[in-house]
Amino acid sequence: MSSTSKQVDALVERGYEHGFVTDIETDVIPPGLDEDVIRFISQRKQEPEWVLEYRLKAFRHWLGMTPPVWSSVHYPQIDFQAISYFAAPTKKPVLESLDQVDPELLRTYEKLGIPLEEQKALSGVAVDAVFDSVSVATTFRKNLADAGVIFCSISEAAREHPELLREYLGSVVPHTDNFYAALNAAVFTDGTFVYIPRGVRCPMELSTYFRINAQNTGQFERTLIVAEEGSHVSYLEGCTAPQRDENQLHAAVVELVAMQDAQIKYSTVQNWYPGDAQGKGGIYNFVTKRGDCRGARSKISWTQVETGSAITWKYPSCLLRGDDSVGEFYSVAVTKGHQQADTGTKMIHLGRNTRSTIVSKGISAGDGQQAYRGLVRMAQRAENARNHTQCDSLLIGDRCAAHTFPYIEVKNPTAKVEHEATTSKIGDDQLFYCRSRGLSEEDAVSLIVNGFCKEIFNELPMEFAVEAQKLLAISLEGAVG
């Protein structure tokens, strides 16, 4: 796949031929990463000194690290000096009308039922200054402010709420955690900060989609959500519509902190560009997501629907520190074409009576490669802790692959762990039954697959669940036959 590596080069080189420029008015800096670049980023974002120090510390640590090698994920080596680490948010080519957009993309939007104005926004067509969601967002902001909820970009938080950010940033995913987490800590450029005060039930589902200026997903996104004692929040990340993105490497970090009796529900729909039919292009999505159940009876729930990206590598995890705390992971991952996904979770049980549930549904079609990789660890003091894991893989076609690699480590005899995994294909009898009732083969597959994933969709907020079902159907088009 050396062609892919060339493409990375092509992407980063385009438009960066002017050499290194320190002029702070410039929107782009040339490829390469050193301390000056990090200072530049920090300066452009008007960050306090301590944020810069944090970035530099991470960078220095990162220099000593080597990129991870994953047994079941294959991609060409990434040249980290060939990436530009700061670009203005709108580097997408601006098109004049929808006529210029790839008709295939438009067809998908139509199937998903996305309004015309949003279609324009998503596909990079210039839109009127008064875009619907802006006013919607304004209303949201007022409601949130009334409840005392902070919902802003991470740069804004660095300026407006430095004490909060300083306390929690990197407290769940330290900059030393892994190669990509270290890189993110050094160069993060965009992201979201959410703070729910004590006892507050967030009055609405929070979504990146409605946050102004978050319409472009950052390459090195950083998200931090803090739920104080007894608070509740549900956060939606991503969007079902396929998004074009010029950046091939995405290395986000998400940190969640749940205090006593707090609950955080984090839902993701990821549908980034998977590359073309030959497996060229596509996003490398290397994400570190971790939730810290710090307080007793706290709960963190991850739900994800992963259909996009050329390579997905993510293990949204829960650190169950508080007694009686609960961790959940519900996942649907689809790989087709030449997509690869290595995803799963880590449930680290430290407190007494901690509970975790893992339900993972993997669907592999075409030449898709998929692995569930999960760790359940019961520490010695995790008295009466419980885990139940169910991993099911569905294979469509004889060139795809599905793997299950669970790791179970138990040091407490009162802890109970149950793990089940199955791999199967769609039964011929199931297909025949549906078709004998008049469904096309494609509809039958979609119906059966949706049934296979129902448990996960049930965990998604309502409107997301409907979209996710449609998305799944579209993702699997052409997978059969």
């Binding site: 893989s393 004889d398 299950t404 480590e409 005899p413 149950e418 791999t423 199967s424």
Partner: protein, 449 residues
């Protein structure tokens, strides 16, 4: 824990000392030299495994740093008499029994009832006469050096049973390979190498046991090759009952022909440190492998089983059922890997690993893995870790059985499901007794941590 700086030294040293002594005592026979060379080359290129290697992630090798294992090249135990190993004998001793002491055939302890035509028994070091050509050719035919210890075995293999059944031969009654280790002044290492070949349609039962006489410290590094022809059938029962201070590593590599049936029961009950690698490769369609195992880790025992089941052809079935019982500060590791290759359609594989934890300072690390590249397959795995079921305990106690005895019965029952897959009644009984006595004598744990 192992430190990276001395990684190679210990294994290389074992090789060097072994080769030195071997050159003195045992002239290299031509037909084995290719295997030995391959092994030597393997040791030279392979590092001592460490936690960074996936297959050794949970296997501590610190003991290598703590003892200098001396090669055992000659068996100084000719003096050992049958009465000395009385306690090790099965109640119903097989009529064919090959006994090895510290890695070398002890002919005085063997029993060689006349077996059917077409059954050839030989031994690697020639103790049973010249090794027939068909066995020479088969040696090292399927062994892979998946780790440095397997290579070490090929380089230094001491002695071992070579068993061949011609096509269509059905052996009546089991053959027993009994490996007895006696502790020496200096901890020794031996490298038994066994080969079992069943030609098409042959049928046999083999009992393979590793026992310690006394409680000496030593390291057994065995490699066993099993090759099954089409439509053949092997009942393979293995029991590891090494001394409480021994290290035991077995690498069992099995190749299955079409429609063959391979049944393995492994009872790993002894040793301070024990690791059993089992690799089963399906080479012909329609074959079946049924693998059952019990791992006991009590006190400070470490007991590790690694399965690598390779479904490389269509229409094969495998069942893997492994159980762990942990007491005291015991530690069990289970790594069950099933690979289904792209063309291995209609594979049916079910892997199960259940672990019973009886003590607070015990630890289980389990990793059941499915790696699947074909779509028309039925594969599943299930894993559980937990303590004794309180409902079961209550049921027994409500019938008047005291709590301690009830626990004991439930543990026995848990293990019995594995032992019941052994064809040999005598072995089954021995396994049950050993387990019972070991569970009873397990050191009570220290107070809560």
């Amino acid at each position: 824990m192992s430190s990276d700086t001395q990684t190679q030294h210990d294994v290389q040293e074992i090789l060097r000392l072994g080769q030195q002594r071997m050159a003195r005592v045992m002239p290299d026979t031509d037909w084995q030299s290719a295997t030995r060379k391959r092994g030597t080359a393997g040791v030279a290129t392979m590092a001592r495994p460490d936690r960074k290697q996936e297959a050794w992630r949970y296997t501590p090798l610190g003991f290598l740093d703590q003892a200098e294992f001396q090669p055992i090249v000659e068996g100084p135990f000719d003096a050992l008499q049958l009465s000395d190993i009385d306690d090790l004998m099965l109640t119903d001793p097989p009529r064919i029994r090959l006994v090895f002491v510290n890695g070398y055939l002890a002919s005085g302890l063997c029993a060689m009832a006349k077996s059917a035509d077409g059954v050839t028994l030989s031994s690697l070091a020639g103790g049973l006469g010249e090794v027939p050509a068909m066995l020479r050719q088969q040696l090292d035919a399927i062994a892979e050096h998946n780790h440095v210890f397997a290579a070490l075995n090929s380089a230094l293999m001491s002695d071992g049973a070579l068993i061949h059944l011609a096509a269509g031969v059905h052996l009546d009654g089991p053959i027993e390979i009994l490996h007895v280790s006696v502790g020496l002044e200096q901890p020794g290492i031996c490298h038994p190498r066994h080969l079992i070949v069943l030609e098409d349609g042959a049928r046999a039962e083999v009992i393979e046991r590793y026992c310690g006489l006394g409680d000496g410290a030593y390291f057994t590094n065995a490699l066993i090759e099993v090759s099954l022809g089409s439509d053949s059938e092997l009942l393979h029962q293995r029991m590891q009952e090494e001394s409480p201070h021994a290290q035991h590593l077995s690498d069992l590599q099995v190749h299955l022909g079409a429609r063959s049936l391979y049944r393995l029961t492994l009872a790993a009950l002894g040793g301070a440190w024990s690791r059993n690698d089992v690799r089963v490769t399906f080479g012909g369609e329609g074959a079946t492998a049924e693998l059952d195992g019990l791992m006991l880790a009590r006190d400070r025992q470490f007991n590790d089983v690694h399965l690598d089941v390779r479904h490389e052809v269509p229409h094969c079935t495998s069942r893997e059922t492994f159980k762990g019982i942990l007491d005291g500060s015991g530690r069990v590791v289970f790594d069950g890997h099933i690979v289904v290759a792209r063309d291995a359609q209609k594979t049916d594989a079910v892997l199960s690993n259940r672990n019973l934890m009886l003590a607070r300072s015990a630890e289980v690390d389990t990793k059941p893995q499915l790696e699947i590249y074909a779509d028309d397959v039925k594969c599943s795995h299930g894993t559980t870790v937990g303590e004794l079921d309180p409902d079961m305990l209550f049921y027994l106690r409500s019938r008047g059985i005291p709590a301690d005895q009830a626990k004991q019965m439930l543990c026995q029952g848990f293990a019995q499901e594995v032992f019941d897959t052994m064809a040999s009644q005598a072995l089954r009984a021995r396994a049950g007794q050993l387990l019972a006595s070991r569970l009873l004598t397990s050191t009570p744990e220290q107070g809560e941590r």
